[in-house]
């Protein structure tokens, strides 16, 4: 698959996503934030980092960049979009996914590996997982406390659009293993069609045995064919 990784000023996981995508066998390229051409990529990755410094609110400025208009059009056409960490925040700001991010409950940046239960395996990003599988990916964020109003939350849950949930190593999504205070331990959600996925954990950082695991690579490999 042809995958483009968007580079905003302040993106800092762009190279990591590029590398992991290439490891999985994809044809990778960067997409500069001022471009309006997606160069016929099949999937767009909005990587982690601090787009435009995130001094206002995470993702709030990136949402107005020229490339985002194209990404929105691409998503509406059914094209694949994966937002990771800051990329998830941009998707929320751009209205491609519902809800908002609050500061972590601890009010501190949190960086550590966490366990996640894969709740939805019908998306193009998760189709190689078995439903209910517990995987382990690193998180690293200050604003990952997912919030949505009750109706939205009920819809997300009812339609099976919660894709990843923070849990213990046995798959129980308890409060003790919620690293940021997210409602319902939500770590990742998708849109109605399943072609847009936003997630706080970093699959690109768990794509080689030497880094402690390859659970993240499964997401990139799911995109093959």
């Amino acid at each position: 698959m042809k995958i483009g990784v968007v580079v905003f000023p302040g993106s800092n996981c762009d190279r990591d996503c590029f590398f992991a995508g290439a490891l999985a066998g994809h044809e990778m390229r960067f997409l500069w934030h001022q471009e309006r051409d997606l160069h016929n990529v099949d999937c767009v990755i909005l990587p982690g980092g601090f787009s435009y410094g995130d001094y206002l609110r995470a993702g709030a400025i990136a949402r107005f960049s020229p490339i985002i208009e194209e990404v929105i059009a691409h998503a509406r056409r059914g094209g694949l979009v994966l937002g990771i960490c800051n990329g998830f925040q941009v998707l929320l700001e751009a209205g491609l996914l519902p809800g908002a991010m609050l500061p972590n409950k601890s009010l501190k940046f949190v960086s550590k590996p966490v366990h996640l239960r894969v709740e939805n395996t019908s998306t193009p990003f998760t189709r190689l997982f078995d439903r209910g599988t517990v995987i382990r990916l690193p998180i690293a964020h200050g604003l990952g406390n997912f919030y949505a109003d009750k109706d939205t939350l009920d819809r997300l849950e009812g339609e099976g659009r919660v894709v990843f949930r923070y849990c213990d190593r046995n798959g129980n999504p308890d409060e003790a293993h919620n690293p940021n205070g997210s409602l319902n331990n939500i770590a990742g959600i998708c849109n109605e069609e399943g072609n847009v996925l936003g997630m706080m954990p970093h699959p690109e950082r768990a794509s080689e045995e030497i880094l402690g695991g390859t659970d993240g690579l499964v997401i990139f490999r799911s995109l093959l064919s």
Partner: protein
């Protein structure tokens, strides 16, 4: 106009009368106020190294693999296969004392610029932090601020903060130490950049952020002690903008890689004046700078303010005239200024113009060569008394298991998870052994640089890359990094303490399997004009030099921070020569972590089991353990006292070589050094991550508590399958290193059970690993318990991997 001599303005600027006279005779006239300001900054201790230069020459800096030694922004060593590693450590103590968040953040930003200035892509940060007792409310505020400042800058620029140390001692209460180290990679050593000007006629450009009034006189402020009125110096603290820092990295690396620049220099302490004069000084050229062309964020700045501003995220670039436009385009794409402000001359003078008017004219050579002082040094009278310790009078604990739990909960020993989980340590996808998993952190060097340039060849599709020689199919190279210093040892015996810091840093690297390759040091002391402080400094430098020679590790860069003292009595901090060290691994997949990982493995103590035979051993050796200056002694008596442990550098070298060899051959499954808290703490730290128990029998003569918590050097704990034992013993005998199997790893959920056999009898205790974990993991969060403890995640790191 008031003459300088009548107002004695130089004194307010921190210059001595004799220095003022020297300036006047050099210029053949009285300097004007701007010129005086230039000298006051360049001749400050911070920029000029007036009190340290003479002694720093003692440090060995030569070795065949050294590509750049001291004198540049950072040192560089060749680690093989055409890869060079760049390293440097620097202090940001004073700014962090008055404004912890920005002080620490700009410390990170500053050291970062030193690395990419050389043309290296930064791959990690390390932080060596010292605070007062953590229960103190002000200390808590300082520590929380420093940690969040490091976190804010490091996380935003996307460079992982992977290792370091945090220690707590009374003398650092009002003057914390914030030392930050950065390491970078150069994949093509022909692109190493330096702070030089090249030919006259070359163009001088200011790039990056605009210049404001922040941080003016920062270098001079860092060259004084901290007083009760230091709060007023807050405006001397710079303000960091990591977002611009990130853009500056990318833009600078692009123009360096494309060989568009002749020279490049970071604008750090003392801003434009420092970078301009250092570049011209190194190249024996001159420079004309038109101050009105420097992009500013404030109106009405004087020439003095423009030259002395320490606004962050700026660099000085020198380029050939025909490259200026291309450089501007590169910076423009990243939204940054790149503005020609002057040119290189052959005059040997630094000439500053403001709207065509000459406002300052001084010889570059005199700016960069301040007078060098070798002040009186005197061994303080208190040393013999401090080293006095009657070990027999140290109270003996009733219950060794309880003593172990207590020492694990000491803030100096306890897990620093609360700190490192605020740092993004996994960004960059190179962190192989991250914080909390070994004595050092291990990074890998990717064969292929992902992505290459962002702008070139937009439709090629495939990954553009710089391939490392020998490329895929061959093992990936690894780099191990650490910082180390035991300030308590250095207070009691500066020479021995400094040697120990070098030995332990090297030991940390060896425990991962990495061969130590280079040192960067950060020397933190009080006021060098006080004879006992200068004596401490001399002893420490001699100690580092001695150990570095003995272990064959060159010192390639460093930093000196004097005037670390505070309060009205101006009490100095403990002498703290922090050693940053980098090592290399031929095959990163062989890197070893410190925790036990398999039930039934044999636990082997490498190195001397008892300190009895070591000549010059520290206090307590005759009773079974060197407890002089130990964490245990401070826990039991509340005192920093005694003769600290001796370091036998030959034994140390052999022991480290043995462990490295065992790791490289894949004969051991874990390796952890014995340091603060001795064998007892090391055993607990090996059990906790994987929740493995252990059954251990230790033999010795004297007191069980000394045997368990003494800090005898040159020791390690390794674990290995039983089948490896004969060959491990063989190799140890060949290399002349004592080894002894002292026990076995037990299954998950089993306790740590220890038996100490002495001539007098047998002491046995057993503690569940979960209780060890609670003590070790819980201590720091409980101090900061007003902040959410959240998911402590105990055991998650090790067991799940």
């Amino acid at each position: 106009m008031v003459t300088q001599s009548s107002s004695k303005l130089w004194r307010k600027m921190g210059l001595r009368d004799s220095e003022y006279e020297l300036i006047t005779s050099t210029l053949g006239r009285e300097p004007n106020e701007t010129e005086l300001g230039l000298y006051s900054a360049m001749w400050s201790e911070h920029c000029g190294y007036k009190h340290s230069k003479a002694y720093l020459r003692l440090l060995p800096s030569q070795a065949p693999h050294v590509l750049q030694g001291p004198g540049e922004n950072a040192g560089i060593v060749d680690i093989g296969r055409g890869v060079a590693v760049v390293l440097k450590m620097e202090s940001h103590n004073h700014p962090s004392a008055v404004e912890p968040f920005q002080g620490a953040a700009t410390g990170v930003g500053g050291i970062l610029r030193d690395i990419f200035t050389m043309g290296a892509r930064p791959i990690c940060f390390l932080d060596s932090l010292r605070f007062g007792p953590p229960e103190d409310e002000v200390v808590k505020y300082l520590m929380a601020g420093v940690v969040s400042g490091i976190s804010a800058y490091g996380n935003c620029v996307g460079i992982p903060t992977v290792a370091g140390e945090v220690a707590f001692h009374g003398p650092f209460k009002g003057n914390p130490l914030v030392n930050v180290m950065c390491v970078g990679i150069i994949r093509d050593p022909s692109t190493i950049a330096r702070g030089i000007t090249g030919e006259p006629g070359n163009v001088v450009m200011v790039v990056g952020s605009k210049t404001g009034r922040d941080g003016i006189r920062g270098a001079a402020f860092a060259s004084e002690g901290l007083g009760s009125d230091s709060e007023k110096d807050r405006p001397s603290v710079q303000v960091g903008d990591p977002f611009t820092g990130k853009l500056l990295i990318e833009a600078c690396l692009e123009v360096i890689e494309k060989r568009l620049v002749v020279g490049i220099q970071d604008m750090g302490a003392a801003g434009l004046i420092s970078s301009a004069s250092e570049m011209a000084g190194k190249s024996k050229t001159g420079m004309v700078i038109n101050l009105d062309l420097v992009p500013r964020r404030e109106a009405g700045m004087t020439p003095y303010e423009v030259m002395l501003s320490e606004s962050q995220e700026r660099m000085l670039i020198v380029a050939r005239p025909e490259k200026v436009e291309e450089i501007r385009e590169h910076f423009g794409r990243w939204g940054l200024d790149a503005t020609p402000v002057g040119e290189v001359t052959d005059s040997g003078m630094l000439q500053l113009f403001d709207k065509g008017e000459l406002v300052a004219e001084v010889p570059v050579g005199s700016l960069v060569n301040p007078p060098v002082y070798d002040p009186p040094a005197e061994r303080p009278d208190y040393i013999p008394d401090l080293q006095e310790l009657d070990p027999a009078r140290v109270p003996e604990p009733q219950d060794l298991g309880k003593a172990l739990l207590s020492i694990l909960a000491r803030p100096n020993i306890a897990s620093k998870r609360w700190v490192y989980e605020q740092y993004d340590y996994s960004v960059g996808t190179d962190t192989v052994i991250g914080p909390g998993r070994s004595d050092a952190c291990v990074m890998r060097v990717k064969h292929v640089l992902p992505g290459g340039s962002y702008f070139e060849d937009p439709d090629a599709g495939a990954a553009q890359s710089t391939l490392i020689r020998e490329g895929p199919g061959h093992p990936e190279l690894g780099i191990a990094v650490t910082t180390d210093c035991n300030a308590r040892y250095c207070y009691l015996d500066p020479g021995r303490g400094a040697m120990q810091a070098v030995a332990e840093a090297a030991r940390n690297l060896s425990m991962t399997g990495a061969r130590p390759l280079a040192i960067t040091d950060c020397l933190n002391f009080g006021n060098p004009e006080k004879p006992h402080v200068y004596w401490q400094f001399q002893e420490c430098v001699k100690g580092i030099a001695h150990a570095a020679r003995a272990l064959s590790i060159p010192v390639v860069s460093g930093n000196v921070s004097f005037y670390n003292e505070c309060g009205d009595g101006r009490a100095a901090v403990w002498p703290t020569p922090v050693i940053g060290m980098v090592g290399g691994l031929e095959d990163v997949s062989r890197a070893c972590a410190s925790a036990f990982s398999r039930e039934g493995d044999v636990i082997i103590l490498v190195g001397p089991e008892s300190p009895g035979d070591l000549p010059g051993a520290g206090s307590g050796a005759e009773l079974g353990g060197e407890i002089g200056g130990s964490e245990y002694l401070e826990m039991v008596t509340g005192e920093a006292r005694g003769k600290p442990p001796v370091v036998d550098l030959e034994l140390e070298g052999r022991m480290q070589a043995l462990v490295r060899s065992l790791i490289t051959q894949g004969k051991v499954r874990s390796a952890h050094d014995l340091s603060d808290g001795g064998l007892g703490v090391a055993l607990a730290e090996c059990c906790i991550p994987g929740d493995f128990g252990a059954e251990v029998v230790v033999e010795g003569h004297g007191r069980p508590d000394f045997i368990l918590f003494g800090e005898t050097q040159s020791r390690a704990l390794v674990s290995a399958g039983e089948e490896e034992l004969p060959s491990i013993y063989d190799e140890a005998r060949r290399m002349g290193v004592p080894v002894r199997a002292i026990g076995r790893v037990k299954g998950r959920g089993s306790p740590l059970a220890v038996e100490v056999k002495t001539g007098e009898g047998l002491t046995r205790f057993e503690v569940p690993v979960s209780r060890l974990r609670d003590a070790w993991e819980g201590a720091i969060p409980s101090i900061f318990d007003d902040m959410d403890r959240g998911d402590s995640g105990g055991g998650d790191d090790g067991a799940g991997v």
